[in-house]
């Protein structure tokens, strides 16, 4: 029986590889056909024997494909290694923030030490990759590397580093010329150097990993057993981490950040449930290589067709994210009940009144203490407050309330401490809806935008809920990460398209309250309060639902009705706040935890305190965003992510299993 299963899966693997090879072959043929006008075999003439213009095309075809193959392969390899190391099918260079750490280090060096000319330097990227990995592992250590905590740590680190990058790019906009060069993430080559380096690195990586295979195989069973068999566990771990950091840094420093390929490859390997480590690593490399090769070809073709310079990273997200979602959905039968770690918190007096008063004072404070053309001062000019500051402050507060409420509802409903409209991709779904309606249904105006935003949120939400009963909570997060990446890719395509109308969408979705007006602000705050009140009405059924479906059914609660009601509520909350300030803000994930660590353990208290705290954080973030670099602005979402992310990482030490 087992033998037959193995055979079956081997066949399926071959079919998958053949399918991908076919796709890669076909797309490569299309690329060559599109670009190369000489005889096919002449494509392989040594570069210097070709006329210059032909050589430049040859370089755009051959070494570019080689770089795609080797980069994808290395990222696949890295992700399989990481998964083996932490015994977690969610680990990858993207989810554990290895790539973003390397990227961040390069950015900092380019910005602050330009004279060293270290932009794109390999060792800088290496230090960054090691640093972010160390951070993520440290965060997960107290929970003994609980898979969910680990991925949550990576996720939060990613969001935080992304926000800091955005902030640095805004703040040092004049010095970022250098940054733009290497962060382009373009696979297009104009020499053979990079492809040669990556090929050598691939060979060396496999040779180095050879002697590690046996101990890794033993370690994959049980640490204690491995130790008793005389495997130097810590040494092996250190070596693997070193290899992972080296390879990721190499890729990031040579071609820029490439997300999702590693995760996609490793997830494919898992789907085929390959056991032997050597085989897993090899397959990871093959899948990664083929996936990025295909993506690179698609990018080249699209680039030719649209005559735009498309970053590979946008395409890997757009093509890779649906793949990851599909893989997860197709795996949905393997549901295991898992113990979910939570933040340790105890019931305490929540001082609700005190917090409420503080929020009021804060709101008044940010309205009158601002920067004017004369610098920081107390400014009580009535029309400035009413026309400009109040609408934006109110909008910020309203989105804070809505996201925090949605976060509490989702975390309770899915019994997953990492659920939130942003993390599960609901906000991104709504943003994708908005962008698509702008592109395809421009004539419908605002109604079309709101409806398609709602539709997007609702589709994602239904998918999440459908999946929630079928897959591990961790995979659920992965779906959210994938949807968010899809949105990111889509937005960066919009950005380079140069279309004026779409640029407006972009600034709309940048997470800023810039477009708040006196009319919309009051509507927004009104909606926030109505939805918050509605949430109080579903507390009872929600509490029962959160006990698990079995208990709920016994108590005779009409499960589906209430669940649908709560779903609609969450969709409304996420869509309205996305329409107001954009999809990135982090409030929904963090504020519910903050409320519970402050003692709001029961649901009602948690909702109340979360609303206040969410509003407060957004008000502060919006105020800082508007005045820190006056008259320029930093989106409130970016600041909220930095404040929130840092605090959340601090909180994470308290997660125990």
């Amino acid at each position: 029986m087992i033998h037959k299963n193995n055979l079956l899966s081997t066949n399926r693997i071959y079919m998958m590889v053949v399918f991908l090879l076919l796709l890669a072959g076909l797309s490569s043929y299309a690329v060559v056909h599109q670009l190369w006008h000489l005889n096919f075999l002449e494509l392989f003439t040594p570069s210097f024997e070709l006329p210059l213009s032909d050589m430049s095309i040859q370089l755009r075809i051959l070494p570019t494909m080689l770089v795609a193959l080797t980069c994808g392969g290395l990222l696949g390899l890295v992700s399989v290694l990481l998964q083996q190391l932490v015994k977690n099918t969610l680990a990858s260079d993207t989810t554990l923030a290895v790539g973003s750490g390397a990227n961040m280090a390069l950015l900092i060096v380019t910005l602050f030490l330009p004279n060293l000319a270290l932009g794109g330097n390999f060792w800088v990227a290496f230090v960054g990759a090691l640093g972010s990995m160390a951070l993520v592992f440290l965060l997960a250590a107290p929970s003994r590397m609980n898979p969910l905590v680990l991925v949550l740590g990576g996720l939060v680190t990613n969001i935080l580093l992304g926000a800091i990058t955005a902030l640095l790019l805004i703040y040092y906009a004049e010095e970022t010329l250098n940054v733009m060069v290497w962060a382009a993430g373009s696979l297009t080559q104009n020499n053979w150097q990079v492809s040669a380096v990556l090929m050598i690195a691939s060979v060396v990586a496999f040779i180095v990993l050879m002697p590690l295979l046996k101990p890794l195989e033993i370690m994959s069973l049980d640490d204690r057993q491995a130790k008793s068999l005389g495997v130097p566990i810590n040494l092996i771990r250190g070596l693997v981490i070193g290899v992972v950091a080296l390879l990721t840094a190499l890729v990031v420093s040579r071609v820029g950040p490439i997300s999702f390929i590693g995760l996609g490859a490793a997830t494919l390997v898992n789907v085929f449930s390959v056991r032997r480590i050597g085989y897993r690593l090899l397959l990871g490399y093959v899948f990664g290589a083929l996936l990025l090769w295909i993506t690179s070809n698609a990018t080249t073709l699209l680039q030719q067709y649209l005559s735009l310079n498309i970053p590979a990273d946008a395409m890997t997200a757009i093509l890779g994210a649906p793949l990851v979602i599909w893989l997860i959905v197709s795996q949905s039968r393997q549901h295991t009940e898992e113990v979910i770690p939570t933040l340790v918190s105890e019931r305490r007096d929540t001082h609700l009144m005190g917090w409420g008063v503080a929020l009021m004072l804060l709101t008044v404070g940010v309205l009158i203490f601002t920067v004017t053309s004369n610098g920081w001062q107390l400014s009580t000019i009535g029309h400035l407050i009413v026309d400009f500051r109040l609408p934006r402050t109110l909008s910020a507060a309203a989105t804070g309330i809505m996201l925090a409420t949605a976060g509490v509802l989702l975390q309770t409903l899915t019994r997953n401490p990492m659920a939130s409209p942003e993390v599960l991709g609901i906000s991104s779904g709504s943003a994708i809806g908005v962008v698509l309606s702008f592109i395809f249904l421009p004539s419908f105006g605002y109604t079309g935008i709101v409806l398609s935003g709602l539709l997007g949120a609702f589709i994602v939400l239904s998918l999440i809920l459908w999946l929630a009963r079928r897959i591990n909570p961790g995979y659920l997060l992965l779906v959210g990460v994938a949807i968010a990446a899809l949105m990111g890719g889509l937005l960066s395509l919009v950005k380079i398209s140069g279309d004026q109308r779409l640029q407006a969408v972009l600034s709309w979705l940048s997470g800023s309250t810039y477009l708040a007006s006196p009319e919309t602000a009051w509507i927004l705050i009104g909606l926030a309060f109505i939805l918050l009140l509605l949430s109080f009405m579903v507390i009872k059924p929600l509490e029962i639902l959160s006990l698990g479906s079995g208990i709920a059914r016994e108590l005779g609660v009409s499960l589906r009705l209430y669940q649908s009601l709560i779903l609609i509520l969450v969709a409304l909350l996420s869509t309205i706040s996305t329409l107001a300030v954009g999809p990135l803000s982090f409030i929904g994930l963090m504020i519910p935890h903050l409320a519970s660590t402050l003692g709001a353990v029961n649901l009602k208290r948690q909702l109340q305190l979360s609303a206040i705290l969410g509003a407060g954080l957004m008000v502060i973030a919006d105020w800082m965003g508007r005045y820190l670099i006056f008259p320029y602005e930093i989106p409130a979402g970016t600041i909220a992510a930095i404040i929130g992310g840092t605090y959340f990482l601090y909180l994470m030490r308290r997660i125990k299993d």
Binding site: F48, P51, L52, S53, M55, S56, L59, R60, T110, P114, A117, G119, G120, E174, L177, N178, M180, V181, W182, A184, S186, T188, N190, N191, W192, Q193, N309, H351, M353, G354, W355, V357, A358, L361, L362, G365, F369, T370, T372, S373, N374, G375, W376, Q377, H383, L384, D387, F388, R389, Q500, Q503, A504, S507, Y514, L598, R626, F630, P631, Y632, E633
Partner: protein, 317 residues
């Protein structure tokens, strides 16, 4: 208790920022100095090209967008310190804008979305570009005069046009005594190591070079912004007697990466004079940032800069 601490922290933050603010208050509100005794209209423009042209005419705007970045991308004419910065060009700060004392706003279609913000102020929309496939000097006369009319300084605009034309022709003569063999120029700007913008015949480089007695060479017709996107390898199609003008900014990192590029190496261009000399490099120069959308002001700057730049490589074409 928590709330109290929070309030305390908040007030502490407020006080400390207040202290900071007192330092900044000392630099008193700047006031635009009028170069003329008769009343000068107070203009705000989000656009660099209009700001540059107004400044060149002698009537700088009282406020403009993205002032710090102007230095890097436009450079000349220098905007006086008295001109205030209203924040991002595409999204100016409305709170800052409302505190300005203005007479009018001058913009172009690119900034049409901002018009509700201007309230009752009169708005003039002026395009400092040519709509012809091959741009001519004459295409820029009317918009420049229009700009003069909008601030009640038609004479200044007229004088500016006359002087500019004279200066550009003069610059052409200076250029030709210095580089008698250079006749054809291709003007590009790097986006990254593979992608460039090549300025084409509908850009202002065409009439400016023409008046200087030079010829602009482009590989394709330009888009609405006057350039055509090309790949690095496309430069191979340029004739040997065409000099390459690379418009800055060009980052150091990009230069390093270019030196590694096989295509760049085979093209035979060098940025460094000595290297270029010893390798018999092709004719090339780096042109300090020159904005391609400022009409006559850009042409003026271009002409002036071309007389000062040094071409490396073979200039005896």
């Amino acid at each position: 208790m928590k709330a109290l601490t929070f309030f305390f922290e908040l007030s502490l933050a407020l006080c400390s920022s207040l202290l900071l603010s007192s330092c900044q208050l000392s630099d008193a509100p700047p006031q635009a100095v009028s170069p003329n005794h008769q009343k000068t209209l107070k203009v705000m423009t989000p656009d660099w090209g209009i700001a540059a042209t107004l400044t060149a005419m002698g009537y700088p705007p009282v406020a403009m967008g993205d002032k710090p970045f102007y230095k890097e991308w436009v450079g000349k004419p220098l905007i006086p310190d008295t001109t205030l910065d209203v924040g991002a060009r595409y999204q100016p700060n409305p709170e800052m804008f409302s505190q300005l004392d203005l007479d009018l706003v001058i913009d172009n279609a690119f900034y049409a979305h901002l018009r509700p913000m201007y309230g009752d102020l009169p708005i003039y929309s002026i395009e400092l570009t040519s709509s012809n496939k091959i741009a001519k000097w004459e295409d820029f006369i009317e918009p420049t005069l229009q700009l003069g009319r909008s601030i009640d300084k038609v004479q200044a605009a007229q004088d500016y046009l006359t002087n500019s034309k004279k200066q550009i022709i003069q610059a052409g003569q200076t250029f030709q005594t210095r580089y008698p063999h250079i006749k054809k120029l291709a003007v590009v700007q790097f986006a990254d190591t593979n992608n460039l913008r090549m300025f084409s015949y509908n850009s202002l480089f065409q009439p400016a070079l023409q008046m200087m007695g030079l010829q602009l060479v482009a590989l394709a017709d330009g888009n609405e912004w006057g350039f055509t996107p090309i790949m690095l390898g496309d430069l191979a199609q340029l004739d040997d007697d065409t000099c390459l003008v690379v418009v800055e900014p060009l980052s150091d990192l990009l230069k390093l990466e270019l030196e590694d590029s096989l295509v760049w190496q085979r093209l035979g261009y060098f940025f460094d004079q000595e290297q270029s000399y010893s390798n018999k490099g092709r004719c090339l120069t780096l042109l300090p940032a020159t904005w391609s959308n400022s009409g006559v002001a850009s042409m003026n700057v271009l002409a002036d800069r071309l007389t000062h730049v040094t071409f490396v490589g073979n200039t005896d074409l």
